[in-house]
């Protein structure tokens, strides 16, 4: 097994271009569809009324508990930035209210506005309360303490709507394209079996004392390994160089990726088993694979794909389960039990497809 594994690896290292291209393609396509890297949005705040101290206070208050980055600027500079399109928006702070200065209409602007409004609301209530109090300083501190650690907390939970707040289509697309290119690499490496059959290398392997099981294990474990490594490289690129938030549990991503790679290697084995030559594989595999993420709804919001027929077909392939698991890990902080279902499905698909695939392959060469 290891002999075959390392021979495949040596061949890969001799021509790594294919893998590098795939990695580049998945990153490139994700950027193409999502438009940007995932840096936190910067918002300038400025004022022509209040003092610098007050403005600094606002900066601190707004930056707390926020995914945007607020920074104080000179009024002229902030306005100029918006005007020239260097920034999407700036906030003008007045004594009792604020204004959003913007020249565009991104959905993010609504979020910023919401955030600022909430902060002003709090501040206004606080001011009102404090102005009634005998000891304004104490009162403010107490109130702030309460706000941070409320004695009573109401948690609103409805069907995941709360969770969906931190859902992000960009991250999902990053997952989807990473899996798409992984399917290519895994499939092509499985099709080495077919290539070796045509060149006669397979006959030589069969004549050697190595068992068939060992032979298949060599090819399969190699495909799994190379698919996993490629996918993890893509994830690390997104996480470390583009600030994508892939969730807090990288170990889960690794496990899901390994199981997905196994499952996909099996599907590739099934397809390989039905074919005779590498040329047929080259014609069929790349035209089938891009359809899988589409019918699995990998490019859409979870639950957006409602056609039961497509859903059923999609569920037959590992990518739909891997996507569910990835989305779960990235946005909903699941524990291992919650990942059990997609993992079991992928293993099941893997075992069945592998069994049929190898069987077909053996029958072909009888």
């Amino acid at each position: 097994m290891s002999t075959i594994f390392f021979a495949q690896l040596k061949k890969e290292l001799r021509r790594p271009l294919f893998m590098i291209l795939l990695i580049g393609a998945s990153v490139g396509v994700t950027l193409l569809f999502t438009g940007s890297t995932q840096a936190p949005m910067q918002v300038a705040i400025f004022s022509e009324e209040v003092s610098q101290d007050v403005l600094d206070n606002w900066e601190e208050k707004l930056n707390g508990n926020s995914s945007f980055q607020f920074e104080t600027k000179e009024a002229a500079e902030a306005l100029e930035d918006v005007k020239e399109g260097r920034r999407d928006l700036a906030i003008r702070i007045n004594n009792n209210d604020y204004q959003v200065v913007t020249s565009s209409e991104f959905p993010e602007i609504a979020y910023v506005e919401q955030h600022v409004q909430k902060a002003f609301h709090e501040e206004a209530m606080m001011k009102a309360a404090v102005s009634q109090a005998d000891n304004p300083e104490n009162m403010r501190e107490e109130l702030e303490g309460y706000l941070e650690n409320p004695p009573l907390k109401i948690e609103v939970s409805s069907l995941k709507t709360d969770d969906l707040n931190n859902y992000d289509i960009k991250t999902q697309l990053a997952f989807a394209f990473a899996l798409l290119v992984a399917m290519f690499l895994i499939g092509f490496r499985i099709s080495n079996i077919l290539k070796d059959k045509v060149t006669g290398v397979r006959n030589r392997i069969l004549l050697s004392p190595i068992s068939k099981t060992q032979m298949y294990l060599g090819y399969i474990s190699y495909s799994m390994m190379i698919g996993t490594i490629q996918t993890l490289i893509v994830f690390l690129i997104f996480q470390n160089f583009m600030n994508y938030d892939l969730g807090d549990n990288f170990a889960m991503l690794v496990v899901i990726t390994i199981i997905f790679s196994f499952s996909m290697a099996s599907i590739a084995m099934l397809i390989t088993g039905m074919l005779r030559t590498p040329e047929q594989f080259l014609a069929i595999y790349p035209s089938v694979i891009p359809l899988l993420p589409v019918i699995s709804g990998a490019y859409m919001m979870p639950g957006a794909l409602t056609n039961p027929v497509l859903n059923f077909i999609g569920d037959l392939f590992p990518i739909s389960h891997a996507m569910n698991a990835f989305v779960e890990v990235a946005f909903f902080n699941p524990d291992w039990i919650e990942l059990l279902k997609p993992i079991v499905f992928m293993l099941l698909i893997g075992v069945i497809a592998m069994g049929i695939g190898i069987n077909l392959m053996e029958r072909r060469s009888a």
Partner: protein, 310 residues
């Protein structure tokens, strides 16, 4: 040591190998001769346990190996007709890969790789990728791979197809040395008559899946002991000339080769006169006339009505 009994393989009902009886004694070198599609490779695949016969049996020292192949595989080296190598790897890496598959011990393997490379004359090119090699060099690596585990029996399936004369001589010389110096048993497949004549003590001639003749070279030649081979050259070969010659009573076979005609005819005193008359009748001009001893090529022509390289 190896024998087959009514060995048969059918693909979709069509018999590619048809009741072949064959044996190979220890230390012998045997040739398997036949045109394209004769069933040579299929026979070899069954003998080397790669495909199962439709019917019939293959035995090693009296034991059937159809369902129990491990004993045979251990002593067998097979050089396939195709170049079965990883072209992206170097010659050395290929040998190492297949040597490891054969579980050749690490300490021995390195030496074995070097001596095998020496034998095929590629020691100084071992670091180069196989895909950069010429056809002849690839063929030599292809053979080297089969020698790593020091097989007692070596089966070569057309090892010299489509290569330069120098590589070809090298390969023939190598096979001869393996037989003479190491006592390796050889089964050599080819459709080049000269190679088989040079290398093999016994010959099987196959056509359309059947063994149509077998024996030593002289035994095979004696099939034609009552025949003459006559080569004539005329200024122009026409269909009607060939027809006229074929109508001569003693003539068995007429083969056209550019301006030459090769005629196999029963030994008789008046064949020369008959031929001259035929040429005159067709108003052609006789430029050259030659009587030859029959060759294996002629035996094949006689048996099948076709040349080997049809």
């Amino acid at each position: 040591m190896i024998e087959t009994y009514k060995l048969t393989k059918a693909f979709k009902g069509k018999r590619a190998v048809d009741e072949v009886d064959f044996y190979l004694d220890e230390g012998e070198s045997v040739g398997l001769l036949g045109p394209n599609g004769a069933g040579k490779s299929t026979t070899i695949s069954m003998i080397s346990t790669l495909i199962k016969p439709t019917s019939g049996d293959v035995k090693l020292n009296g034991e059937s190996i159809v369902h129990n192949s491990s004993k045979l595989r251990k002593i067998l080296g097979v050089v396939p007709q195709e170049i079965a190598l990883y072209e992206e790897l170097s010659a050395y890496e290929n040998l190492k890969f297949f040597g490891q598959l054969y579980k050749v011990e690490k300490s021995i393997l390195e030496k074995r790789i070097q001596s095998t490379l020496e034998l095929v004359g590629l020691r100084d090119r071992q670091k180069d990728l196989v895909k950069t090699f010429s056809g002849g060099m690839k063929r030599r690596v292809n053979i080297a791979v089969a020698l790593l585990h020091n097989p007692k029996v070596l089966i070569l399936d057309e090892p010299t197809v489509g290569i330069d004369p120098q590589s070809r001589n090298h390969i023939l010389e190598m096979v001869r040395r393996m037989k003479e110096e190491q006592g390796t048993t050889i089964l050599y497949t080819s459709h080049y008559m000269e190679e088989v004549e040079q290398l093999c003590e016994r010959i099987y001639v196959m056509d359309h899946g059947k063994v149509i003749a077998t024996g030593t070279q002289s035994e095979l030649l004696s099939i034609l002991s009552n025949e003459d081979t006559i080569k004539i050259q005329v200024d122009k070969v026409t269909d009607s000339l060939i027809e006229t010659i074929q109508e001569i009573e003693q003539v068995h076979q007429v083969e056209e080769d550019k301006d030459n005609l090769k005629i196999i005819a029963k030994k008789s005193s008046n064949i020369v006169r008959e031929l001259v008359l035929a040429v005159e009748k067709e108003k052609a001009q006789l430029l050259n006339f030659q009587m030859e001893k029959p060759s294996l090529e002629d035996v094949f022509l006689h048996l099948t009505g076709r040349t080997l390289r049809d």
